[in-house]
Amino acid sequence: MHWIDYYRPSTLEACLEAFAKHGASARALAGGTDLLVQMRAGRLANNVVVDVKAVPELNEIRYEPGIGLTLGAAVPCYRIYGDPTVQREYPALIDSVSMIGGTQIQGRASVGGNLCNASPSADAVPPLIALGATCRVASVAGEREIPVEDFCTAPGTNALGEREVLVSLNLPAPSPDSGACYLRFIPRNEMDIAVAGAGVSVRLANGCFDSGRVALAAVAATPLLVPEAGAALGGQPGGRAAIAAAAAAAKAAARPISDMRGTAEYRGNLCEVLTRRALEKAVERAGGTLG
């Protein structure tokens, strides 16, 4: 690896100042599972690494009933799936963080890093989109909020400006009659990259779907929100017919490529199957029945 300088700021202010000073030549280090690999491969030209794991705002898991979850961008997967509140309130997030890499990777890799890496197949991203999460982004000039579905802009690129840092993800508190799920398909049991994935959330009311959100992995240049699938659920009776319509909408919205992991046609079919199964699970988690 080329020479780098290493900083470990212990306050958000010092962290933002480091990015203000070094701009595009600095990269944030959380778990390093993408960053260090890419730097070693010569794919990144940065010469400063800012280790963000001592910044409190990037390392907190904080749940406030009625408001929601603040998930620090650098919190590693194992802390998320080991958190009883997240287990109870956000099982779809648990679905994804417990399938990213293996045990060792989960000891390092963070949801914020998974999002910033902006891989189309990132497993943590569809459930965040389905759950309506937003990104808290900060720089010395101030802060802004970005919906997760607008954060990835192309494979490997995101909406962060040169001096900006992803501080945390904010997930709204789930209503009692809601449920969510993330499913992915890989040809083995673990340690693989999604051929396709579906993250969904639903809200039930009086035996109907009040609303729904569906997001897909690995079938477009970025993780993909499918508003048509959500619209196919909203106001419909909470049974298999609406789920089938949403699944068909997911398949229709997918714009997959063919590569070594699967053909475009195969990925399209997977979107339909995964969306249907994820919605069935989400309904079950919401306490509903499929009729």
Binding site: R8, G101, Q104, I105
Partner: protein, 161 residues
């Protein structure tokens, strides 16, 4: 372009070293501290050969910078045995022929020890999922899984007797 002075704890003993900011914890362990029990396999987080425990959690040492070890508590394969008394996992791997070339073995032992501490009686499936990040190209995993089960059994006997 300055080296970094790092103070850390390795296998229960205070340690300090100088490293370049770009050096991984794996490079520091092997090349600076000469703790060569931790092996380099893929150097990109896939194979688990360099597994160490850092603050109670197993991580790939190739994906940790040496500078990140500041203030941390690190356990390597050298810290598993107590003096000349091998850990039950090490005995079980020897008795169960769970190693051939041995390059993956330190990673498997460190990862398995971490598993048994949180889950003293894991099922075969739990063992296989926990060790999914550790690759072995010689034995085909069955002997490794059976040896972890054997060690778990022995360790449970010891705690109940």
């Amino acid at each position: 372009m300055q080296s970094i002075h790092v103070r850390t704890t390795i296998n229960g003993q205070a340690a300090e070293f100088l490293c370049e900011p770009r050096q991984s914890l794996l490079e520091v362990l092997r090349d600076v501290l000469r703790l060569t029990g931790t092996k380099e396999g893929c150097n990109d987080g896939n194979c688990g050969a360099c597994t160490v425990e850092m603050d109670g959690r197993i991580v790939p040492a190739c994906l940790v910078l040496g500078a990140e070890a500041e203030g941390a508590d690190i356990l390597t394969i050298e810290g598993i045995a107590e003096g000349s008394a091998l850990h039950e996992l090490q005995n079980a791997f020897l008795e169960g022929a769970a190693l051939q070339c041995g390059v993956c073995t330190p990673g498997f032992i460190v990862a398995s020890k971490s598993l048994l501490e949180s889950n003293p009686d894991p099922s075969e499936e739990e063992i296989r999922f926990w060790l999914a990040n550790n690759l072995c190209r010689c034995t085909g995993y069955d002997k490794i899984v059976r040896s972890v089960q054997a060690a778990a059994g022995k360790m449970q006997q010891e705690t109940t007797s």
